[in-house]
Subunit: 188 residues, 2 copies
């Protein structure tokens, strides 16, 4: 993971410049925290990684909308669902109880799974077909995990504030997705 | 689950007696909350049940030591571990990151799994071989889930106060264990 440092120069100044007196840039703080998360997640399963994610986000400065993450976890491909009508089943997470199964194409999670791409929603109330598992959730990001071009799971994170996620989350959660695709045992 | 009501007369008075003015008995509050949890858990998988458990305990009155639960979840039998040397693997939970694998006989979890019985620890510092995943944990209860007399998983709950669990927890978590033994799909 040494290459992460080259991609993440801002995090160096946060920890190495003793004379830096200005307030912490929330975006830089997020990069540093998500960078550290990637290091730790390399040896963790989905259960531990859901805890890492939740506590990473909620440890962000209060000035960051992402601080208000209220749900973080995974859905995995339901191996009993028909190939022609696949669905996701609730996996490890941190937060309040959630929908236990979600069909591909349904809501934000199902859309990301069906389209095999990250879906970032600024305001869930404006997303057609949004599934309201927790009414406190106001924004959401869902990143599919692919193995051999097949969706095996999704990363799902909800935030209690509108606009909780940006391109930094897309970048780091995309890298987490790639990592988990390789480090976890997925049913073939 | 109708028979639960017969076993739980104290919960009736909490909700049905409008003239009850004395403070809520923590033990009665716990019975009512765990009774409701059993109803909901009947249709939930382990991921949702870990959330039910955590939020049930932390919703108890502050006067109950169990209010200070800081970790609630499951370990499941690691199907790749040798039959002669079985181990548990971290499953869904709520709380800080935890030990990812635990050998049978090791710590509170491994002892409960090896002995196939509930282990309730008043003060983890006095339990020989206790595994300190989270240093805030001061007491713990572990209840094995058996399927055909074989341990398939354990329920593990930690509390940040000494003496967080009593015979009420043993009773209701034992019933949860029986429920999950039947309601979940366990690898044979």
């Amino acid at each position: 993971m040494a290459s992460d440092h080259a991609l993440n120069p801002t995090s160096q100044s946060l920890t190495q410049d003793p004379v830096a007196a200005e307030p912490i840039d929330p975006s830089s703080a997020k990069r540093e925290i998500l960078h550290n998360l990637l290091q730790e997640a390399a040896s963790f399963n989905l259960s531990n990684t859901s805890s890492l994610l939740y506590h990473a986000y909620t440890s962000l400065p209060h000035s960051s909308p992402s601080h208000h993450v209220n749900w973080a976890g995974f859905y995995t491909l339901d191996p009993t669902s028909p190939h022609t009508s696949p669905s996701l089943i609730l996996g490890p997470f941190q937060g309040r109880t959630a929908c236990q199964t979600i069909a591909f194409n349904r809501g934000v999670c199902g859309t990301a799974a069906a389209k095999k791409r990250t879906v970032r929603v600024h305001d869930v109330h404006e997303f057609p077909g949004h599934i309201a598992c927790d009414e406190r959730s106001r924004s959401e990001i869902v990143v599919p995990i692919l193995r051999h071009w097949k969706v095996v799971a999704i990363i799902d994170i909800d935030c209690a504030e509108v606009g909780g996620f940006d391109e930094v989350d897309e970048e780091y959660l995309g890298r987490l997705s790639n990592l988990l695709s390789k480090s976890c045992d997925w049913a073939s």
